[in-house]
């Protein structure tokens, strides 16, 4: 376990030592402060409290989707860049199994995504508190957790897809492109029955909150969770099998 933690630390340092590491955090902070100011100035009584603002910002229909994109962009290169830099050769001959190395990379991707959401919530709440005050109405906290939680799940799904593409194609660009395209596609819904088995309409679990209508007839929260679980297993399975077998040339 100790050595796995060290591997995750390695991966985290590989991301965080890049100069571009602070960009997604900066974008989120600047955007949230600007938006809270704009809502206060022009939004009238639309938003009443910090928690309401944060819930709205972190929902998939607002800033949650954008955060998912940031997460995909900054984790797409985790595997592919080792190939393009050539550092994969050193990484694979240090006595740590390939499965463990890949697992540490995936763990780092999840940690990074989580850190973006924690940051999104923290900045959203702080900036919301400054502009709208702290009083929260009934159920505001619940809304906040539903919005943030479903956005986080949504991000994890697409980060995993991008992660798999990075392993399969060894190209950061391809991984990023496919991941982003999938995020964009997820807002399209084809009203056909087969489409409910596709990843996209299932990725956003927040549609089931407040007794909302499912995107396609017959979809339920457990159904979507099951579909997502199957896709995640597929993505990770393909990643691990490929990564373990591959000849590194």
């Amino acid at each position: 376990m100790l050595s796995f933690n060290r591997l995750v630390l390695n991966e985290w340092l590989k991301m965080s030592k890049k100069r571009s590491f602070f960009i997604p955090y900066a974008i989120i902070a600047v955007a949230l402060v600007a938006l809270s100011w704009a809502f206060k100035r022009w939004g009238g009584d639309m938003i009443g409290s910090a928690s309401e603002f944060t819930a709205m910002m972190s929902s998939t229909s607002f800033f949650g989707q954008f955060t998912a994109m940031l997460a995909v962009i900054f984790t797409a290169g985790l595997v592919a860049s080792e190939h393009s830099l050539g550092t994969i050769k050193f990484l694979m001959i240090r006595g740590q199994s390939r499965g463990k190395v890949l697992a540490s990379k995936y763990a780092a991707a999840l940690l990074f995504t989580l850190s973006l959401f924690v940051w999104l919530m923290a900045v959203g709440f702080a900036s919301g508190a400054a502009f709208f005050g702290m009083e929260a109405g009934a159920g505001a906290w619940r809304d906040l957790w539903i919005a943030g939680g479903s956005s986080f799940v949504y991000s994890i799904v697409y980060v995993t897809l991008g992660f798999m593409m990075g392993v399969l194609t060894r190209s950061t660009g391809a991984a990023m492109g496919v991941g982003m395209a999938a995020v964009v596609f997820s807002s399209l819904t084809i009203p056909k029955s087969f489409y409910k088995y596709v990843l996209f309409p299932n990725a956003d679990l927040s549609v089931y909150s407040h007794g909302g209508q499912p995107p396609i007839e017959g979809m339920t929260l457990p159904f979507s969770i099951a579909v997502l679980a199957v896709y995640m297993v597929l993505f990770l399975g393909a990643s691990f099998v490929t990564f373990k077998k591959r000849d590194i040339a």
Partner: protein, 319 residues
């Protein structure tokens, strides 16, 4: 040779046994077997495309072998990869690092991957390759020579028994090549590490290695000791070029000499290439003089590794 040296020579640190690699229907490495013994520097020599890099990658477990196995200190790389790889340090093609990190941060990355590497060990290898001044600089500011040295530091960090280097002098300038060679010799001596180094640069191999394994088209061609006893024996017979005045008479005289053999005749240049024993040279010259043959030039022709290499590999596919 003392007893202990004999024993040392018996122990193979690294053994390849019938290693093959097939991709599609094509055989890239074919039934390759050889040993690297304790403290030895062995060259893996072959023209481009001979399968050197593939062999090295199979030894390091980066690519899977189709047949055969590699043993590192007795552990199979196929079945006990963790135990085997622990003894291997490698630089495969160019040493690549995370360019946005400092040299020190890069080494720390590899330190975290093996529990037993101490901070003192990092300092020690850094000192060994002489990079103390550059550790706080980002790797993107490093020259190729510095990256090579950091690569060696990386490869030595976990105290391996055998160092595997793939074309380590590729792209280095002459000073860099010499520096590299000196480092490798120092390492072999001070750390007692065996080294397997692949290259197509013959002169390089001659100066660095005690033995060369020559491969072509993935097959073992020959294993030769360099500067060893067998070479000395061969040296007692030398090839001497005589440039003479009266060609036909000279030919007659040389032909009648005992223990001498005319290898080649170049009549237009009045040159005769003769194989004879070193100690017989004065006698031969006297005989030529006695026959009244004017001698303009006597030159010993040394057969270099390059000539042999060309002979082994057919000479048409040199890189």
């Amino acid at each position: 040779m003392t007893q202990s040296q004999n024993i040392h020579e018996e122990t193979a640190v690294l053994s390849l046994r019938g290693v093959s690699k097939k991709i599609g229907g094509k055989t890239i490495v074919d039934q390759l077997s050889f040993d690297v013994r304790e403290g030895e520097i062995v060259g893996l020599l072959g023209p481009n495309g001979a399968g050197k890099t593939t062999t090295i990658r199979m030894i390091a477990g980066l690519i899977q072998m189709t047949e055969g196995d590699v043993f590192v200190r007795g552990s199979s790389i196929r079945h006990e990869w963790k135990k085997a790889i622990r003894h291997i340090g490698a630089i495969i093609e160019n040493p690549e690092f995370y360019p946005y990190m400092t040299g020190y941060d890069n080494l720390k990355q590899y330190q975290r991957m093996n529990e037993w590497i101490s901070n003192e060990r990092i300092d020690e290898v850094v000192r060994l390759v002489g990079l103390e001044q550059a550790m706080k600089k980002k790797v993107k500011a490093y020259s190729l020579g510095m990256r090579q040295r950091l690569g060696i530091a990386q490869a030595l960090l976990h105290e391996p028994s055998v160092l595997i280097l793939d074309e380590p002098t590729n792209g280095l300038d002459p000073a860099g090549i010499r520096e590299m060679r000196d480092y490798l010799k120092t390492i072999a001596r001070e750390e007692g590490i065996s080294i397997l180094v692949s290259s197509h640069l013959l002169l390089e191999m001659e100066q660095l290695c005690s033995r060369v394994v020559v491969i072509q088209d993935g097959k073992l061609v020959t294993v030769r000791a360099i500067g060893g006893a067998s070479a000395a024996e061969e040296k007692s017979f030398v090839r001497v070029m005589f440039r003479v005045g009266r060609f036909d008479e000279a030919k007659q005289v040389l032909g009648s000499q005992e223990h001498a053999e005319i290898l080649q005749v170049a009549e237009e240049q009045n040159e005769l290439l003769v194989a004879l024993r070193y100690k017989d040279i004065p006698e031969t010259v006297t005989a030529l003089g006695a026959a009244g043959v004017p001698i303009y030039q006597i030159t010993e022709l040394k057969q270099s590794l390059e000539d042999e290499f060309l002979k082994w590999t057919g000479g048409n596919r040199i890189a």
